[in-house]
């Protein structure tokens, strides 16, 4: 059912990249245009919609009060979930999350978690008993390639936009009060994804590039330019030198994007 790409087009894409060019006119390390709208879902505690070219991802956050994990009794809980709804692509199917949506959610989760983007200590209400639980739901509306970077951006956009309702604790039960405070955010990680096509790296692959790529590499970079999460994907490989090259480019691109978004 997957949209199949012809051998001819495949060759064409690879040959262009060989020359440092891409079918849609971008340079090898150029992102597509990034549009971000925050607060689009009033019912959600936070939300952001990111368009990366024609790729379209909506993220909503919900706040609940629950128990901490036994091994982190003084920290709030972050739960990231991704849905590749069949509306978004002819290759997505309804049903429980498959390996692709689980991998996407876990990559987004790691970028946020490992960079310590959320100040989870501030989400503790009563150690070991009550903490704030942050649900981040990634909802893909149109898939035109590089869901990882779009989802990671939309997730951070939604978190930056998330309001925690005021509450008080009475007899061990949390009561919601009027008003709210901003979710405490410490870091703004940005994820940069590469495709390896014909021995070259290209940044932010769109759908047709993903269909011909050998392998994929996603690198999350924090505000200080440190690497905080990596995921290789796809059925190909990378030479060690290429990985180091990608890490360097990712650092620059993340800085560029963070600047552009004012993060």
């Amino acid at each position: 059912m997957a949209a199949v790409i012809t051998k001819v087009k495949q060759k064409e894409i690879a040959q262009l990249i060989e020359k440092g060019k891409r079918l849609d006119g971008r340079g090898l390390t150029d992102f597509r245009e990034i549009k971000i709208e925050q607060g689009v879902i009033e019912r959600a505690e936070g939300s952001a919609r990111v368009r990366l070219g024609r790729t379209d991802v909506l993220v909503g956050t919900k706040i609940e009060f629950g128990e901490p994990f036994p091994d982190t009794p003084t920290e709030g809980v972050l739960t990231v979930n991704a849905e590749l709804v069949p509306l978004a692509s002819p290759v997505f199917e309804a049903g429980p999350p498959d390996e692709n949506s689980i991998e996407l959610a876990r990559i987004v989760d790691r970028g946020i978690r490992e960079s310590k983007a959320i100040d989870t200590e501030k989400l503790c209400i009563e150690p070991g008993k009550k903490v704030i639980v942050v649900f981040v739901d990634v909802y893909v509306l149109n898939h035109d390639g590089n869901l990882i970077d779009a989802s990671a951006l939309a997730a951070m956009g939604a978190l930056l936009n998330t309001k925690v309702p005021n509450y008080e604790v009475e007899d061990g039960e949390v009561k919601i009060k009027s008003g709210h405070t901003q979710l405490p955010i410490k870091r703004n990680p940005v994820t940069v994804t590469f495709a390896k096509i014909g021995g070259k790296l290209v940044v932010d692959p769109w759908l047709e590039e993903e269909q011909v790529m050998d392998a994929r590499l996603s690198i999350a970079i924090d505000d200080d330019g440190n690497i905080c999460a990596i995921q290789k994907g796809g059925n190909g490989y990378f030479e060690p030198q290429m990985i180091l090259e990608a890490a360097k480019i990712a650092k620059d691109k993340a800085k560029e994007i963070r600047k552009k978004l004012g993060w």
Binding site: A88, D137, N142
Partner: protein
């Protein structure tokens, strides 16, 4: 969480959001919003935000479900986890499964299913934000997505609810009226054929009240129908413009 309001209709006969009993919520419709889908539409009705996409006619999957004399129509109504007050689990609820069925059965009467035997058409509805009346907004959007996909139809199906809030028969119930009102009557219509393709009711109505509610809902449907056609016209105008550039 919204608390129960003291009154749904004030002394002047106006509703919580200032509407008159027979007034629709603000509606915004857009056709052709998902580039991957064969047809798509987006609707905002009050705070409802609903996206509908259509894929097909395409191969039936799995193959043994193919029908020799007609297309197979499938429909999935689904709510985003963040679309409602309390986070909704992504697994389909019983409510979503029922609504998927009634929405499909509200659209099927309009489709010339016999034109494309051995094929399948998938309708996917995603509720991004819910505010009462999502099934009607879903039908209105899904019918446009079908039209946008070029599926041959007898008419564009359109849907709207009427109901009873306090003692008044009102049009297009919003969340609070749905929850604290006396009755809710969602109706889907093919206006040109005067054919009701969806009818449900919750609550308590006398026969006369029911008659008024059905008639009011049909009036509402007809108003939205005009907006649907306008949205299609805009889409084709802009497509034409792009083509001419």
């Amino acid at each position: 969480m919204t608390d129960k309001p003291e009154k749904l209709i004030d002394k002047k006969g106006l509703r919580l959001d200032g509407r008159k009993p027979d007034e629709l919520r603000p509606i915004k419709i857009e056709v052709g919003v998902i580039s991957n889908a064969d047809g798509s539409a987006y609707i905002e009705q009050g705070k409802n935000k609903v996206l509908a996409g259509v894929y097909g006619p395409r191969e039936v999957h799995p193959k043994h479900l193919a029908l020799p004399d007609r297309m197979v129509l499938k429909c999935r109504y689904h709510m985003a986890p963040f679309s409602v007050q309390e986070r909704k689990s992504p697994a389909p609820s019983r409510r979503e499964i029922e609504l998927s069925k009634v929405i499909r059965e509200s659209l099927e009467p309009a489709i010339f299913v016999e034109y494309y035997p051995r094929t399948m058409v998938d309708i996917f509805v995603e509720v991004l934000q819910a505010d009462g009346g999502t099934r009607c907004a879903s039908i209105t959007a899904a019918a446009l997505a079908l039209a946008d996909a070029g599926i041959p139809m007898r008419d564009i199906v359109v849907a709207c609810a009427a109901g009873k809030a306090g003692d008044t028969i009102v049009l297009d119930l919003m969340d609070e009226e749905d929850k604290y009102g006396t009755a809710d009557v969602p109706v889907a219509l093919m206006p040109n054929l005067n054919a009701v393709t969806l009818l449900q009711m919750d609550g308590i109505l006398s026969y006369d009240e029911f008659e008024s509610a059905v008639n009011l809902a049909i009036e509402g449907c007809k108003k939205i129908y005009t907006m649907q056609k306008e949205a299609i016209r805009r889409k084709y105008a802009s497509a034409k413009e792009e083509g001419e550039e």
